[in-house]
């Protein structure tokens, strides 16, 4: 039986290296059967969006992601877990969030990464605002009811 992972969680302004973060989870070990990496990217919305400004609650964000990660680790016996969430201005095409998970079996890795993304969407204290092509400040991104439904299916 392998020890359950202590998750690595970072909230940062700078970009991250998804490949290096993911690869680090398997370095020096051969007990992992499934390694999954999910990256959320800033879409340009058909060429209308220049960037997203991501506001966050700095004192709470890491603590809340840690709670979400703890919930995932209580459900699935992950062998490694890294979550990185950026804030600040992220240009179209840029990386916003990384969830990388390692597990013995693929089902655990898929479920945990999917769960984590659903819960980060609805629980992590980040708010996105659009900066439009041409320089205008767009609207705050509306929460999607689909995101609440996605999170609710894990209950």
């Amino acid at each position: 039986m392998n020890a359950v992972a202590k998750p690595i969680i970072r909230v940062q302004r700078e970009d991250f290296n998804a490949a290096a973060e993911t690869e680090a989870l398997r370095q020096g070990r051969a007990d992992i059967g499934a390694l999954i990496s999910f990256v959320g990217l800033c879409r340009d919305e058909g060429g209308t969006l220049e960037a997203l400004e991501i506001e966050h609650y700095g004192a709470m964000a890491k603590a809340e992601i840690e709670r979400v990660a703890g919930d995932a680790l209580a459900r699935w016996p992950l062998l490694g877990l890294t979550i990185v969430h950026r804030y600040g201005l992220i240009e179209a095409g840029g990386r916003i969030v990384l969830v990388a998970a390692a597990a013995t079996h693929r089902g655990e890795a898929f479920a945990a990464a999917n769960f984590l993304m659903d819960y980060l969407k609805t629980r992590a204290p980040f708010w996105k605002r659009a900066h439009l092509v041409g320089g205008a400040l767009g609207d705050w991104v509306e929460p999607k009811s689909a995101d609440d439904e996605a999170a609710a299916r894990w209950n």
Binding site: R67, I96, L120, F126, D147
Partner: protein, 83 residues
């Protein structure tokens, strides 16, 4: 205690944080929202859609029923759109 505001709630209130001193009868998060809304038109407008306002006490999500006694930091914000 300190009150924090984020995203469009911050913009409507016109500040990101402030010290507040609610009177003894203000027991829950919901009471605090009502008390803030009664201060002036700015707060009334910011908090008008009560059902969408989320709150956190000392960096953890709470419902509008949560007691505020002992809270050092109460944050108000719209539904989150991270991830």
């Amino acid at each position: 205690m300190k009150a924090l505001y984020f995203a469009w709630l911050r913009e409507r209130v016109g500040k990101s944080e402030e010290e507040i001193a609610p009177p003894a009868g203000v027991a829950t998060v919901g009471d605090l929202i009502a008390w803030l809304s009664a201060k002036d038109e700015t707060y009334a407008h910011a908090f008008e859609k009560k059902s969408v306002i989320r709150a956190a006490i000392d960096h953890a999500h709470v419902s509008h029923d949560a007691k505020i006694a002992g809270a050092r930091e109460i944050a108000f914000f719209p539904p989150m759109t991270g991830g």
